[in-house]
């Protein structure tokens, strides 16, 4: 690949990984088949993992692959399979019509523009505070990043780390509460809504 000679390897990695990310993200949005969309998400997550690796965030890259590309996407696929993939979503007839598509595009561009503007306004120097060069929490070769992470989790962020478990308890209790089976005949006759029989399952 002689045409790549002279280019910094970081740039090549960045451009390739970035392309994979963007193509995957577009695939998520543009694919009509939900399974293809979910699989495109893997490409995006993989690209992000490569970007993390390029920043020497090895642990983050591994977690990105294991948790996101592995567990989360598999979960997505699981739900899609449970709901039935034979019914490909026809986006042309659903409620996403009118100005909604345009509004979504404008909002998306706006959200992208916000950090870019904020970044540009600071003259390319995003962080006001720099860790002192001597601090070991800077990216150094001497302290491995897993050790740094572990130390943060059990000191500075100990409380945050522990109370995350409350969220999991709520998720379990909430799932049990909301997943109970209710007979359609038991529905409350609510004058505010259409009769239950007309409600699609």
């Amino acid at each position: 690949m002689h045409f790549l000679e002279g280019l910094a390897p970081e740039l090549v990695v960045f451009v390739l990984a970035g392309l994979v990310c963007i193509v995957g993200a577009l695939g998520v949005v543009l694919n009509a088949n939900p399974v293809h969309a979910a699989l495109s998400l893997v490409a995006t997550l993989f690209g992000v993992a490569v970007l993390f690796l390029a920043q020497e965030a090895n642990f983050l890259a591994a977690v990105q692959i294991i948790v996101y590309a592995g567990a989360i996407v598999v979960l997505f696929l699981f739900v899609l399979m449970l709901l039935g993939i034979d019914r490909a979503e026809d986006l042309s007839v659903d409620a996403l019509g009118g100005g909604q598509r345009l509004a979504a595009c404008i909002l998306g561009v706006g959200i992208l523009a916000l950090p870019l503007l904020a970044f540009a306004s600071t003259g390319g120097e995003a962080t006001g505070a720099r860790p002192p060069a001597t601090a070991a929490n800077a990216i150094t070769k001497t302290t491995p990043d897993i050790a740094q992470l572990g130390e943060s989790l059990f000191t500075t962020y100990l409380f945050a780390f522990e109370v995350t478990s409350v969220l999991l308890v709520i998720a379990v209790v909430g799932a049990v509460v909301l997943a109970r089976k209710v007979k359609r005949a038991d529905y409350v006759e609510d004058p505010l809504t259409s009769p239950p029989s007309e409600v699609p399952t």
Binding site: L53, L117, S121, A126, I146, A147, E151, T156, V166, T193
Partner: protein
């Protein structure tokens, strides 16, 4: 990559200094979480459902226990020698402000639990889960009120909210309840994302998520350009604005309040709002006080919009739950007026308002829970006609609570509004004070409309019906009414408590505490 990971794993472990946890400071949160888990465990171990009412009793006892645990904290932070303290490596701040907010949140738990009891039995949904979710939600609220780190603030917000999403969608046999849950969840998740984005930008701009370190950094450094910090602040404000239902982030509130189970709404309107405002004050008033001149105008606009939307749109509603939803938006606007003042008097006014408002609104929704029929229906204004004849005492109590919300003298609502307006004028925001008073007049029409419906006579009064009043709901009504009226006559006690509930920023000074920069001891 794998080789390097393996290398890291096989290296000898780095010793870590353990974090000094002041357990007393965390006691209210621990009691709430531990109690919730205990209720779950006991409920799953006994073969049959426990005696009806035992869940509510356990919840009330737990909340009261957390209050008892908070009393020594209050004494400690008011003690000149010991004073407020940070714990858990600077993640949690125990000061007058956090303890005061904890008391208010726990009162909301007690009132909502009492209201839940009879309601759940009427709907044949009695069980441990709603109480467990509410206790966990309250623990998130207490975390928000005492958070000293934006990450803890975010986790508190999520713990608070996710449990409430479930509480909103809990009535599985009612489609509007499901709708309320989904709406609240989708919009809430959206606002949480904004909040998190804001935290990321602020971390980028200041290099820390710790409120003390952010404040120290911002006061010591003049940022060449504060674009990142301002953008982050704006996004945080979106997150908080959604939680407290401030316009223009209020659109979920009427639909969710109307569809969700009424006792859940009592919790949503009281506890969740208190936690949201406590977090808002902590972040904006404390950590970003150097940016006061930047965020005050924004809060000014939000307050005006919120008060106007809340009062004007309430007038055209015909459903009592929707009316009170808009009126709670109006109340949020009033508290924003106090936040906008950004003075110690403003914080005091906001805390007084939150405390008074909690009892008024929880009591009001308690009445709605009693008056509605099985299926949680019958909340339109017409359903309240003739209430003074069917249930004279309940109607009278409801009328008093509504008058308190309107700010009639001799009720706590009067002094709440009085302190807010005084704080706004002292801070030089007379315009805001005038707008606040005008909207108070507009929204009093709404309250009077409900009272007229209850006491009105004429041909459109429906036939008498029996409205059962569960003992627990009656107790909640008595508590909220007693507090509302006694604070209205003797506001001094609550006002002086609120005055001493000052939020502070101090770096953790516990001996043996770890340096928050996370500098590890050398290998």
């Amino acid at each position: 990559m794998l080789a390097s990971l393996w290398q890291q794993l096989s290296d000898s472990p780095v010793p870590i200094d353990s974090v000094d946890l002041a357990w007393a400071g965390l006691a209210p949160v621990m009691i709430l979480i531990g109690g919730a888990l205990l209720i779950l465990a006991v409920d799953s171990l006994v073969p049959r459902r426990l005696r009806p009412g035992s869940y509510a009793l356990a919840t009330v006892l737990l909340a009261a226990g957390a209050m008892v645990a908070a009393v020594p904290l209050w004494q400690r932070v008011q003690d000149a020698e010991r004073g407020p303290f940070a714990t858990a490596a600077g993640a949690i701040m125990v000061d007058g402000f956090s303890v005061f907010a904890t008391f208010v949140i726990l009162s909301a738990v007690i009132l909502a639990a009492l209201s839940f009891d009879g309601w759940l039995r009427r709907e044949e949904m009695d069980g441990a889960e709603p109480y467990v979710l509410m206790l966990l939600s309250a623990s998130g609220g207490v975390m928000m009120a005492s958070a000293n780190d934006l990450i803890v603030m975010f986790l508190g917000l999520e713990i608070l909210s996710i449990a409430v999403y479930v509480l909103a969608a809990m009535h599985l046999r009612k489609i509007t309840s499901q709708e309320a849950g989904v709406k609240y969840f989708v919009l809430g998740a959206f606002s949480s994302a904004f909040f998190l984005y804001g935290i990321a930008l602020i971390y980028g701009g200041t290099g820390s998520t710790n409120l003390v370190r952010i404040a120290t950094y911002l006061s010591a450094t003049v940022l060449g350009d504060s674009g990142l910090v301002l953008a982050g602040l704006a996004l945080l404000l979106v997150g908080f604005g959604f939680k407290v239902a401030a316009a223009p982030f209020h659109f979920w509130a009427p639909d969710v309040y109307q569809g969700a189970p009424t006792p859940s709404v009592a919790w949503m309107a009281s506890g969740v709002k208190v936690a949201g405002f406590a977090g808002l004050l902590r972040v904006f008033y404390l950590a970003f006080s150097t940016y006061r001149l930047d965020w005050q105008p924004v809060i000014f606009v939000l307050a005006v919009l919120t008060m106007l939307v809340g009062s004007v749109l309430a007038v055209v509603q015909t459903d009592v739950k929707r009316m009170l939803a808009y009126s709670s938006i109006n109340h949020a606007g009033f508290i924003l007026v106090a936040v906008q003042a950004a003075t110690a008097a403003g914080v005091q006014a906001a805390l007084f308002y939150l405390a008074a408002y909690t009892f008024m609104v929880a009591g009001s929704f308690g009445v709605i829970a009693v008056v509605s029929r099985k299926g949680d229906i019958g909340t339109s204004l017409d359903d309240y006609r003739g209430l003074s004849r069917d249930r004279p005492v309940v109607a009278f109590a409801f009328a008093l609570l509504l008058l308190a919300q309107a700010g009639v003298p001799l009720t706590s609502g009067f002094f709440a509004k009085f302190y807010v307006i005084t704080a706004a004028i002292e801070a030089g925001s007379s315009t805001l004070a005038i707008i606040a008073m005008i909207t108070a007049v507009i929204s009093s029409y709404v309250y009077l409309r409900i009272i007229v419906a209850m006491y009105g006579a004429g041909d459109d009064v429906p036939a008498p019906r029996t409205i059962p009043l569960p003992a627990a709901a009656g107790l909640a009504l008595v508590i909220s009414l007693t507090v509302t009226m006694s604070v209205g006559v003797f506001p001094g006690t609550l006002a002086s408590l609120a005055e001493r509930a000052t939020p502070v920023l101090i770096p953790e000074s516990d001996p043996g505490a770890v340096d928050p920069s996370g500098v590890p001891p050398g290998p």
